[in-house]
């Protein structure tokens, strides 16, 4: 039985009808049409689906969409202010932190959450925080440099 709910994604409210078993990832991609968040493993190993839920990171493939009813969801599409990329997004481009790009939305969300909690993380802090996000290109060095650079530029 589908249940009516309101998903608030990147500040916009979407009235939706949700199956109890539908994941937040599938709801945002298939019902709302925001396809920035990716499905990698579909069981919380890879972090490609990571979104912010009330400001906290969540693996959206393994979170029921109905539990997000009335909460604030932020996807990678919601990070930039209009055409103005965040310092983290710019740093990722500058440091070659994007290769195939599949992990990038989750990496950006994960690193955004990290920098809110730890404005100036050490390299070790960044590597540990991002180790829930897998990069299939193994391009971690550029990603880690970008996160540290963004932290310093915002400090």
């Amino acid at each position: 039985m589908k249940t009516a709910a309101t998903l608030t994604v990147n500040g916009a409210a979407y009235p939706v009808e949700l199956d109890p078993h539908l994941s937040l990832l599938d709801a945002v991609r298939d019902l709302i049409g925001l396809t920035g968040s990716k499905e990698g493993c579909d069981d919380s190993e890879c972090g490609a689906c990571m979104m912010l839920l009330d400001g906290k990171p969540v693996n959206s493939c393994s979170y029921l969409a109905l539990q997000a009813d009335g909460r604030d969801v932020t996807t990678v599409e919601g990070l930039a202010e209009g055409d103005e990329l965040t310092p983290l997004q710019r740093a990722l481009l500058e440091h070659g932190g994007v290769q195939c790009g599949f992990c990038t939305p989750g990496m950006l969300i994960s690193a955004t959450a990290l920098l809110r909690e730890h404005p100036d993380p050490s390299e070790e802090d960044v590597r540990i925080a991002l180790s829930g996000n897998l990069c299939r290109c193994t391009g971690y060095d550029g990603i880690v440099r970008a996160v540290r650079s963004a932290a310093r530029s915002s400090a």
Binding site: K56, P57, V58, N59, L64, L66, S110, A113, S131, G132
Partner: protein
């Protein structure tokens, strides 16, 4: 059967839903992931308990801690009393999943999922914690050593709801740690884990607790290892003997994460690190939280 989803506003709502066959969900970090991995499909009737305000919060009293069932791992790691006095629990919650898991995953879910590999189980068991269980016929306390009956099973009726975990205050001069062997720093499940809690009196160990994780069908204490430690002076040979006893008291299995023989060998190594870290903390020395990563490099910076 029709799939249903309800959101409980109160404990009474939740218990009523459980009574009619619904299964509870909080952070979903075990239930939904388990379904994705094909362990068990999602329940047809789900009651979300994550918005029940009375199930949140950590209350610190003279007699110990009361953890609401919905307290997240993130909240546990950030709590100064947990870090100072129940350090093994902070060690465990600090390494559950990733920061995404810790933001939503709850202590209640971790305990009631009853995985023999759960990180918080060993520390809670060694601290003599008990589960507060509510139902339409009342509330009861179940000591954690009676809660887990096998991998994924508990002594709790499906119509009952865990509302909190009570942890008595440890006696001063107690140090504790939880150390696990892991292949990856986040989104990892213990290959082997050991909890150690020691209390010093003068130069000798007056009391000791050792529990094993992912080394038996349930998390359980190892009395033989504890007996070796109690009365000893905490020197290296005593730690080594207790570590051997820990391995001898385990009954690991072969699975995708490691062979039984490898687990048994590593049980001794990880037990030695956990006991050393607990002793160091009991003596007032600083060991980083989580202890797992700091003990890889050896305590005090020396290679183990």
């Amino acid at each position: 059967m029709t799939r249903t989803f309800t959101t409980a506003a109160t404990v009474e709502d939740a218990i009523e839903a459980l009574g009619s066959g619904a299964r509870p969900i909080a952070g979903g970090t075990d239930l939904v992931v388990g379904a994705r991995q094909g362990k068990a499909s999602l329940p047809e009737a789900i009651v979300a308990i994550d918005r029940i305000a009375s199930l949140g919060g950590i209350v610190e009293g003279e007699d110990g801690l009361r953890l609401g069932a919905l307290v997240t791992h993130e909240e546990i790691v950030a709590n100064d009393v947990v870090r100072a006095r129940f350090t093994a629990l902070a060690d465990a919650s600090a390494i559950v999943g990733s920061h995404a898991t810790r933001a939503h995953g709850t202590i209640g879910g971790n305990v009631m999922n009853a995985s023999p590999a759960m990180d918080t189980g060993g520390p809670l068991l060694c601290f003599d914690a008990s589960a507060r269980i509510r139902s339409t016929w009342g509330e009861r306390e179940v000591p954690l050593d009676q809660l887990w009956t096998g991998p994924g099973t508990t002594a709790v009726d499906p119509r009952e709801l865990l509302v909190g975990i009570d942890v008595p205050a440890p006696i001063p001069a107690t140090g504790s740690s939880y150390v696990r062997l892991e292949y990856r720093r986040q989104m990892e499940i213990a290959v082997v884990g050991v909890t150690a809690v020691v209390r010093l009196d003068g130069g000798s160990i007056a009391d000791a607790r050792v529990a094993i994780t992912a080394l038996a069908p349930t998390i359980r204490r190892v009395p033989d290892a504890e007996a070796v430690l109690i009365g000893s002076d905490g020197a290296a040979d005593g730690i080594a003997a207790a570590a051997r006893a820990t391995a001898a008291g385990s009954s690991p299995i072969d699975d995708v994460r490691g062979s039984a023989a490898y687990r048994a060998a590593m049980a001794e190594v990880i037990a030695g690190r956990a006991i050393s870290a607990a002793l160091a903390r009991a003596r007032g020395e600083h060991v980083e939280i989580p202890a797992s990563s700091s003990t890889y490099a050896g305590l005090g910076g020396a290679r183990a």
